[in-house]
Symmetry: C2
Subunit: 306 residues, 2 copies
């Protein structure tokens, strides 16, 4: 069982030699969710030995290039390397035409089914759900329509205690009901409480991704108590006016959101290329929220250790 | 005065950690011409400290992603970094819509004028010409419409010999005619031959770029006697059938074109990612044409040294 976040890039706007634009890979029990896909994301995935053919779902927050210019290359490489599996893309609707126009220009008919799931501009809802995970969009406040994402693991069934099953000689056809919390009643009517037969599984983790956005208290309810919040901090707080104008947040604004949402941990990113020493951003954010770390390519955050 | 080619990538199809897709920068007397622009080209330009704002003309051979997926990112970064100068793009017509759709999706109105010059699918002609250089397209034989490019420097005016000008006390208004080869006649009728007053400038160099293409003798006349031919060698000659099928060339085919066109030097590239040791490609090409080198990112070819 795993719930891990791999950071692949943490730069805003312009790729530089040392900082790739935004992309993250969330591993939920070996299912891989790619979040944003700036230029060179496929190279970052290779660099960190993350097999991109295992990605089945890609979430694009908005159509500024630093969040999606690497997508067409990734789609193309998946094709050239023989992918057959479905790929699902969650993005604002214009992206479908952008991708299709490029596939047509190269006369490419993909080997695999590609599905686009358009994001709403102003309504938050569940955009992907199955037995294990639920993903919703979060409406952000940027210069163009922009969406964050909330990933919520579903509560896992309880774990069977093998020695207890043996002790009470419980038949296999009862196992599923025990996993779901039922007590067990023996042939002679003895009731054995479920917590003698099973133990609780690991927690169901929650991750909120919020980039790019102005300071926006409207998102707090949606992200309350998440284990990890990624919130952009494009600027130091001294540039609060520039942040407002360009649809971004400062360090202290991200800290305030984290505090008000009572999240366990905050990871900051989407740094303006003007900042060479990222530690300044970290130190300033910490003034408003103590449990914070810097994102940087190669960082892996294991939710079991938060 | 300079005529130099910077190789920025030499891989075909899929970017890998060690090999970037195709892009080259030609420096003709400090005017910069970008040829193809695979993903991450802007990072390669930064890596080799080549200021991309100095590029005013970009030539895209065809609309397979490994030749242009980096273009929109470069256009966008030029904008974000405050470019005001015109940018000219020479490419097949579909590219204009692909770029514009992406600019519209991000609500970007470029700070600088961007001009598209559509390439003909089947006719070779001069596509850019001024006092110093002439660029023509070369019709190649690939799986989609594809164009090579021939860069021809114009013969430079002759260089003035300062000491001779002083000796004969020649007035400044005569300088231009001397540069163009005229003799000088003094007030008392003395004729001084031009070669006492000026010396020949460096040669006018010619560079032919041919990627991607099947073996195609039709291009030989166009590229005859060039100083440098870049010809793709996606495959070793053992894969000649695959080359034919996928619209590419082998080592020995590139060598044959170089030999028949009687070029001075051949540089090979666009290597399939299956080849880890590129030296095998070099050795095999050399069997057909001796003056050949491998392209690789970071290589700079100075035409004065060919």
């Amino acid at each position: 069982m795993s719930f891990k976040l791999n950071i692949l890039g943490c730069s805003s706007a312009i790729p530089t030699i040392n900082r790739n634009p935004t992309a993250q890979l969330l591993n939920v029990n070996e299912r891989f969710f790619l979040i944003d896909c700036g230029e060179s994301t496929q190279i970052q995935l290779r660099k960190y030995q993350l097999n991109f053919q295992r990605i089945n779902h890609i979430f694009i927050s908005h159509l500024h290039g630093d969040h999606y210019f690497g997508l067409i290359g990734l789609i193309n490489s998946m094709h050239l390397l023989g992918r057959k599996k479905e790929l699902h893309i969650y993005a604002h609707e214009e992206l479908e035409m952008i991708v299709n126009l490029q596939l047509n220009a190269s006369n490419t008919e993909l080997n695999y089914p590609l599905f686009f799931h358009p994001l709403s501009e102003n309504e938050s809802s569940v955009i992907l759900e199955d037995d294990n995970i639920k993903v919703s969009n979060i409406i952000l406040d940027h210069t163009i329509k922009c969406s964050g994402f909330l990933f919520e693991e579903k509560k896992s069934p309880r774990k069977i205690i093998a020695s207890a099953i043996e002790k009470y000689n419980i038949s296999h056809d009862k196992i599923n009901s025990l996993k779901n919390g039922a007590d067990w009643i023996s042939d002679n009517g003895e009731v054995v409480a479920n917590d003698l037969l099973t133990k609780a599984n690991t927690s169901a983790y929650r991750y909120a991704y919020c980039s790019d956005t102005r300071f926006n208290e409207g998102i707090i309810n949606k992200i309350k108590h998440v284990d990890l919040l990624y919130h952009e901090t494009t600027f130091m707080h001294e540039l609060i006016d520039r942040a407002e104008k360009t649809g971004h947040s400062t360090t202290l604004q991200a800290a305030e959101i984290a505090k008000k949402a009572n999240v366990k941990k905050l990871v900051i990113g989407h740094f303006s290329q003007r900042y060479k020493n990222l530690n300044d951003l970290l130190v300033q954010t910490r003034k408003g929220f103590s449990n914070v770390i810097l994102s940087c390519a190669g960082l892996v955050i294991d939710f079991q250790e938060i």
